[in-house]
Symmetry: C2
Subunit: 578 residues, 2 copies
């Protein structure tokens, strides 16, 4: 009996077992604030994915509870997010007509597949695999996706019908239709846009002047989107503009989503596999990066594999309640933490409030203008365009800046999937390219030490007839020939001529078979020119492999433990501080 109790207890998440009353006020406030943000955002992101707004609300109930069961972050706010919504739309577009029954069903299937993938990855601990997306690629992807999202929202914002497609095509189509702009829609959208922008610095300042404490003021300001949604909805309801063609959300179905397994037909599943994989990876990376950043600030710990399991369960939950893929959102999580969330209970409270909205308040949103949702989306994603990050990368590492730029350009010009592929191939290509173009430095002894440094950067001692070269890369098929000819270059035309060449292997952690052959050939060429080849500072694992090779048997020089040993042990007239 106690064993069964123990098992049951082990299934309760750690945070629930450790819960104490002190956290209740924070969790309650945060749950409420996030819910007020999530209602408009989740409907907007559903629209961005080509889905009816209530699907966004569905995705904000069970997934949040499911995440709380397995996730490791105390403050992650799970739900529909902009980038994943864009990817969802891009995946479903190829399957069915946006808004159709098949389209909506496929969204749930996509969430289910993605959830299964994340859960499986979490169970076999594949969290580390996500490292193959470099930060510049992720940042370029997010920036490019934000641009595409903004362009995609210009149609609803201006009351124009624009076919989905690459960003450039959408812009052209908007340009052509500019005379058909619905002035009422545009006016409402631009007012919303302006209010949302102003809200950022103005509202908190105003509220503070009205006597509210600073923190409460900044929290209340987060409610601006909700206020604008309600105001816009009321305006349309009272004017009846929606009967004159202004696009609104329309009647939303009442009540909670029914739990049911979505369609799992084989052709649909196979068509969704790749998009689900990309959504899983990028959703996971967005989520884990915000969760880790906040955990570091709060001296808490986020475990990548637990996050995979948590997000996996969340998406499975979305899949069986007719929702769409979800992940942890950047800005919403920050709001959650800011509002005092102390445990995943905050998320459960958010889910409870959304459930209440679904049960009792969907009528409220029948005349919600789509243009207002477009404005909310645009304001939410604009900060994702990371121009400053690009500039910072450019000054630190041009290749990384190019990877970011290429990914963003790929997303904007070619689409989501091709954009990621561009970024991954580019960044792996840079790794291979760098390894293929190794830095080779001639070194000498730093006077008074046993330390050896580049003769071009430091004042060092050298010896006549002795050339010491440090190869700054593993030796492999991609650089072996280049290294060998660069070494021969260094030898050519040396006066007085070199009798001993020491290769300092401190940077070489691996020599592959091709490079070994090249070294053998180099050794023969050097022997023909009466130059002895030595090695120094060969690392243990490299030496283990070289032991017993033809190269080492034929080596006419020595293997020295350190550069100093070679420098001291080999002949040659000392040249101080050249």
């Amino acid at each position: 009996m106690t064993a069964a109790m123990g098992k049951l207890r082990a299934m309760i998440p750690r945070w629930a077992r450790d819960y104490h009353r002190g956290k209740v006020p924070g969790d309650l406030t945060a749950g409420l604030v996030v819910a007020m943000l999530l209602v408009p955002q989740s409907m907007a992101y559903a629209a961005l994915a080509g889905l009816p707004p209530h699907i966004g609300l569905y995705a904000s109930v069970l997934p949040l509870v499911a995440y709380a069961l397995a996730g490791s972050s105390a403050v992650l706010a799970v739900g529909p997010v902009a980038v994943v919504a864009l990817m969802t739309g891009s995946a479903l577009e190829q399957i069915a007509e946006p808004g159709s029954v098949e389209y909506i069903a496929a969204a749930a299937t996509l969430a289910l597949i993605s959830g299964a993938m994340l859960l499986a990855a979490g169970l076999v601990r594949l969290g580390a695999l996500a490292n193959f997306l470099s930060h510049p690629v992720i940042s370029g992807f997010t920036s490019g996706a934000a641009v595409v999202i903004i362009v995609s929202q210009l149609g609803p914002l201006l009351g124009l019908q624009v076919d989905k497609g690459p960003a450039a095509a959408m812009l052209v189509s908007i340009g052509r239709g500019i005379t058909d702009v619905d002035s009422r829609t545009a006016a409402m959208a631009l007012s919303a846009l302006m209010l949302l922008w102003l809200a950022r610095p103005t509202v908190p300042a105003l509220l503070r002047r009205l006597g509210l404490p600073g923190h409460a003021a900044s929290l209340l300001a987060k409610l601006t989107p909700m206020v604008i949604v309600l105001a816009g909805t009321a305006l349309v309801a009272s004017t009846g503009w929606h009967q004159q063609g202004l696009a609104v959300a329309g009647e939303l179905p009442d009540g909670l989503p029914a739990a049911a397994l979505p369609t799992l037909e084989w052709p649909l599943v196979t068509a969704l596999l790749l998009p689900a994989l990309l959504i899983s990876i990028l959703g996971f990376m967005e989520s884990v990066s915000v969760a880790s950043a906040l955990a570091r600030k709060r001296r808490e710990h986020v475990e990548a594999d637990a996050e995979l399991r948590g997000l996996g369960l969340a998406n499975l939950g979305g899949g069986i309640t007719g929702a769409m893929p979800v992940t942890g959102g950047f800005s919403r999580t920050a709001v959650n933490a800011d509002a005092g969330a102390g445990s995943p209970l905050a998320g459960v409270i958010t889910a409870g409030i959304i459930a209440l909205v679904l049960l009792f308040a969907t009528d409220l949103f029948a005349t919600l203008p789509m243009a207002v949702l477009a404005a909310i989306i645009i304001v939410a994603v604009t900060p994702l365009i990371d121009i400053q990050g690009l500039r910072r990368l450019w000054s630190y590492d041009r290749a990384d800046a190019l990877a970011m730029g290429a990914t963003a350009a790929g997303v904007i010009l070619l689409g989501v999937e091709a954009g990621i592929a561009t970024g991954v191939v580019f960044s792996l290509g840079v790794v291979v390219w760098r390894a293929s173009h190794p830095h080779i430095a001639e070194v000498g002894q730093v006077p008074g030490t046993e330390h050896f440094r580049n003769i071009c950067r430091h004042r060092v001692n050298t010896r006549d007839g002795l050339l010491m070269l440090r190869v700054d890369e593993n030796l492999f098929f991609g650089n072996a020939e280049a290294v060998a000819s660069s070494i021969q270059q260094s030898l050519r035309g040396r006066q007085p001529s070199v009798s001993d060449l020491v290769l300092i292997m401190s940077s070489v952690s691996h020599i592959d078979a091709t490079a070994l052959e090249t070294l053998e050939a180099l050794q023969r060429t050097l022997a023909d020119n009466a130059v002895r080849l030595h090695l120094a500072e060969v690392k243990g694992p490299v030496m283990d492999r070289l032991e017993g090779t033809h190269f080492l048997r034929e080596l006419d020089g020595q293997v020295w433990l350190s550069s100093q040993a070679a420098f001291a042990g080999l002949p040659g007239h000392l040249q101080p501080q050249s």
Copy 2:
């Protein structure tokens, strides 16, 4: 006038300008011996590519002269070779019916495109690009190709009709048809096979016993294939077996090939681009590796870009004389050098003899049995299956052995192009995988020196409270997280606790933006745990980049020039030779 003369003189290849009479006997002998080897081999390789035998002879005239104009090897024997013939057949199969007029025309187009690619690569000096095929991949490719070639020759060898396809399918088809084996064909082929095998050790010994000098004996033995061809042809001519269904070469067209541009229709050209590229790369690599190996032995020099131009001209020459792609052959080049070739004139002489054969002796080969050609091919390619090389690789570097095995398996199971792709992707994947799994060693001071080594491999001095870690790889997005968590692992549970951590950067030649962020996060985590982070032996180019970064500004430890400086300068009780 003299300027014009000078220009004209500059167009004459260097070897011709430097030619002296002493080389004549060697070039003559070599030219003749290689021609006697080339007649049967070139016809056999044409058959292997699905072409009529005389196309092989066409490929042995102008290409050899063209190579002599621009190539840099004194001994390279250019002409049809087995692996390139296999690739040619595999490319043309998808275009036309083997042996048809279109098929034969496409072979010339393929040679022309490949020639243009090689020449262009040589002119813009792309020789180094070939380094992206590692030796294990090339060796795996050659071994796999040899297996496919042998299997493809079992049909002609046994007088069976076998559809071309993957090696396994051909074997099954041969197994099914085994009862239909033509006993006369099989008997003739197996005799030829046996004689060719015996010829290797026996004939030279026999000839030496007959009083011939050793070298002449081994050269004469090279004529065995020619003797067997002539004997087989005579046998069939006298018995008339070809009228009873035994496959023979048939009437070959008389005379030299006419010079004409091959068909260059756009769809044909685009379909041949990829195969031409692969043929160019692999043909070039086979050729340059044998040329370099022999040049090293002969203390001569082979220039990769000159080789590209030489082989480019050779294939252009083949293209305009209705031939097939060519390159420098492994065994034939060895024979050429062995027979005393001292300049490309030997190749020109070979070409002259083949031209004479085409002009006056094609009738001789009308009753040449195809089974004998199959036997010649099998004996020629068997040594290419490099089992010993695989074993050597396995003992040196398993990843290289796997790359070789994967490439060979790819070629055998999936075909030529998929096989190469498998090998390239696998070997680049290994590079990335290795970089992602860096070796990290804790080091200490080798007593009496300023040299620092792995504490697990050497008896070294360490200090209480000071942890010195050497990271053996560049830091990039693929390994940054792994390195950071491995460092934290090393710190955990240390007693007495560590107050200073020194990262020795001697192996780090590059830190990308993702890794820099990871280092920043690591620095914050360490600061939280009251551990100061130091760097030592940071290379010049890395330091240049770090200068001015947030990471370096926030670093609470120091950047030490050497490990010794950090070891001497930081506090902690000395632990001798732990």
